[in-house]
Symmetry: C2
Subunit: 166 residues, 2 copies
């Protein structure tokens, strides 16, 4: 290893869990990139497609809750998916405010290509499934802890309405 840091310093770069978290996230996404690029998807778009393959039709607020992403982030992303011909953004007839994001034929078809991605990632990473599973559990715990630290809500979700006012 590099050892460029005083290992006792609490401000040492190497000791910051959050630094490791961002680097891990960015670099693992970089492993996905060459696999997603031929499908014409970015990683966040891939996550949206995963949610839709399981649960379409979905409103923006559903996607926002599932992916823990701001609606303001999803709105242009969904327009790009529509421009790519993978989804259609319709109005929910029950509630004209809400969007009903549905898959097109091409969007559904893409799922068979996507099936090859998870095993390819695992193979490229060359890590044991048990270790990945274990990492996943640790991440779920830190996600829960972070959400609790943010007053029990994800960053884009201002406040759980029922909690404070009576």
């Amino acid at each position: 290893m590099t050892g460029f840091a005083d290992i006792q310093d609490p401000l040492s770069l190497e000791r910051q869990v959050c630094f490791a978290l961002s680097v891990a996230s960015r670099n693992v996404i970089a492993v996905y990139r060459p696999l997603l690029e031929p499908m014409g998807l970015t990683h966040p778009q891939y996550l949206v497609m995963l949610a839709l393959w399981e649960h379409a039709p979905l409103a923006v607020k559903d996607l926002s809750r599932m992916l823990q992403l701001d609606p303001g982030t999803l709105s242009p992303l969904l327009k790009r998916l529509e421009a790519a011909g993978l989804v259609r953004r319709e109005r929910d007839p029950e509630d004209e405010r809400a969007l009903a994001v549905v898959l097109t034929e091409a969007g559904r078809d893409l799922r068979s290509d996507a099936k090859r991605i998870p095993p390819a990632i695992v193979a490229r990473l060359g890590m044991g499934l048990d270790e990945l599973q274990h990492l996943h559990e640790s991440l779920m715990r830190v996600i829960a802890a972070a959400n609790a630290a943010n007053n029990g809500h994800a960053p884009h979700d201002p406040a759980p309405t029922g909690v404070r006012t009576r």
Copy 2:
């Protein structure tokens, strides 16, 4: 809130380690935000300052290697830090191509404020130090695996031309 997904489906959103990784990264950064904002720093800027507090002066390529960030990302970020009066971007007299990013008085002074951040984060997360340490080790392994999968280099680092120095 439990299984909205078929737990057997390899394309299930819940099973994607990379999804957990991005959400964890974003949401933990959100825990930092209210602490960094009064210091006038974003999280990436905080990481740059950490590196500088330990090792200034640094060139862009040093920061790029340490933080595993693209020089094209660092360039405008450093200009914002300079505009905030925390660093100066000088030329290395030894090599006029290279930048020597140095701390200003204000930049050095900020370090005492920053010392309060790591314990505050740990307190807010409410997780045990041992579990955080364990997560850190898992993340280091996945970072190494991801870099190996990307042909032995971080995304911004096109190719390992020679033997790395240090």
